[in-house]
């Protein structure tokens, strides 16, 4: 079985994979990083969004074998080393941007990428950005508010 070496949340890892093994399977089943979720099988819901080399990507739509040498960050890796939550995580908590929590990791990872790409996105831009992240609980209202607040906090921290 081929091996792939990559960095996950700053830690180098080496795992055995089949050609067909997806990144999300490596994260959840081999590395025990179950914060990255699988909500659909058509690559549309975004519950599995992680960062690959700093950009958001769907862990269900990447072969593990593709990621030789890549750096992957999951929801478990965004808080500070001291355990302090990322400003985007804090903003979701402050603004009740989550209910059941299932879409939340993907939502937060997508939101952080947005805040980096477009630090002062309008409500309209945020809603468009979230095309690949489906939430069934919140109606998105508070997610939009959370991302606005989280982006502002990230701008302020710069």
């Amino acid at each position: 079985m081929p091996q792939v070496s990559l960095t996950v949340n700053g830690r180098p890892v080496k795992v055995e994979v089949e050609g067909r093994t997806l990144l999300v399977q490596v994260l959840r089943e081999k590395l025990g990083l179950t914060g990255t979720h699988v909500g659909c099988d058509t690559s549309q819901c975004g519950a599995c969004v992680v960062h690959v080399d700093g950009k958001s990507a769907k862990a269900c739509t990447l072969l593990a074998a593709q990621l030789e040498g890549a750096s992957v960050t999951t929801i478990e890796g965004v808080a500070g080393a001291d355990g302090k939550m990322h400003p985007m995580q804090e903003a979701f908590r402050d603004n009740h941007g989550l209910q059941c929590g299932f879409c939340t990791p993907g939502m937060v990872m997508s939101a952080i990428d947005l805040a980096k790409t477009n630090p002062d996105a309008s409500e309209h831009e945020i809603r468009e950005w979230l095309e690949g992240n489906i939430c069934r609980c919140t109606g998105y209202h508070n997610i939009v508010k959370s991302i606005q607040a989280g982006s502002a906090a990230m701008r302020a921290a710069k």
Binding site: T42, S43, G46, L62, E131
Partner: protein, 264 residues
């Protein structure tokens, strides 16, 4: 997903050589269509050859009246390219509207064009701008490239290396996304070029097509109103639960007029 042997190619030539002798090798660009297809067990390739490491397939440049985009340029790269935005803003805007941000971060122009999904956006730009598809073997004009649904002029083992788009005088793309999948239910790319107007339609169902009747009308009068008299037959389009052929044919007119208006 059925299992397959995975290979990473370092260049277009390496990819072509790795494909040789395999019973059913598939090239993978960004994988944003191929992987979902494999997950549904709709394809069973023996080998998947990943072009992600082919450094010769990247890059975006504008020169000599054309914008040239490496096959492995992501949609996000095209959307953010200063060269593309300056030379053909409609092309950058189209890339900005493909899929969702995560698809745009991984999906590529080469993959999209080679796959020729009947609801994909890029084929409309390639055909609408009269682009040239460059492969490791030859150059193919857009009008000869798209053959049928999911079918192109590419031969087995042939690798797209880049696509060059001549800079038009004006152009715009308007998409009516399917409410569920968000793929183009109808997308219309219009361009005013030195050789005349071009109108390409994606999403109608039978692969990307040129609307010659609209082109003729726009050649006479480049304005949205010029399209009022152009009847789009319902037979141009397929139907599904989200749109009958009649509705889609109507949307072609609406989107074409809006595109012409946006192009200015």
């Amino acid at each position: 997903m059925y299992d397959f042997a995975y290979h990473k190619a370092s260049s277009a030539a390496d990819a072509a050589s790795k494909a040789k002798g395999k019973s059913d090798a598939k090239f993978m660009a960004g994988g944003q269509t191929l992987i979902p297809t494999l997950k549904q067990r709709l394809a069973k390739p023996s080998d998947v050859i990943d072009l992600g490491g082919a450094s010769d397939l990247k890059g975006i440049s504008a020169a000599g009246g054309a914008v040239t985009i490496g096959a492995m340029a992501t949609h996000a790269a095209v959307a953010g390219s200063a060269d593309a935005k300056k030379a053909i803003p409609a092309l950058a805007a189209l890339a900005e509207g493909i899929g969702d941000p995560q698809v745009r971060n991984r999906g590529t122009i080469g993959g999209s064009v080679a796959n020729n999904d009947p609801a994909a956006d890029y084929p409309a730009a390639v055909l609408g701008l009269g682009a040239t598809v460059h492969t490791d073997q030859r150059q193919i004009a857009a009008d000869a490239f798209f053959v049928s649904v999911f079918e192109t002029a590419l031969k087995p083992g042939e690798v797209i290396t880049k696509v060059s788009f001549p800079v038009p005088q004006k152009a715009a793309y308007m998409k009516f996304p399917s409410p569920a999948s968000r793929y183009a239910m109808i997308g219309v790319f219009v361009a005013k070029t030195a050789q005349g107007a071009r109108v390409a339609v994606t999403g109608a169902g039978n692969g990307v097509i040129r609307m010659k009747s609209m082109e003729a009308a726009l050649d006479k009068n480049w304005s949205p109103a010029a399209l009022d008299g152009v009847k789009v037959p319902a037979g141009t389009c397929n139907g599904d639960i989200h749109g009958t052929p009649e509705y889609r044919a109507h949307l072609i007119t609406v989107m074409a007029k809006r595109a012409v208006a946006a192009a200015g």
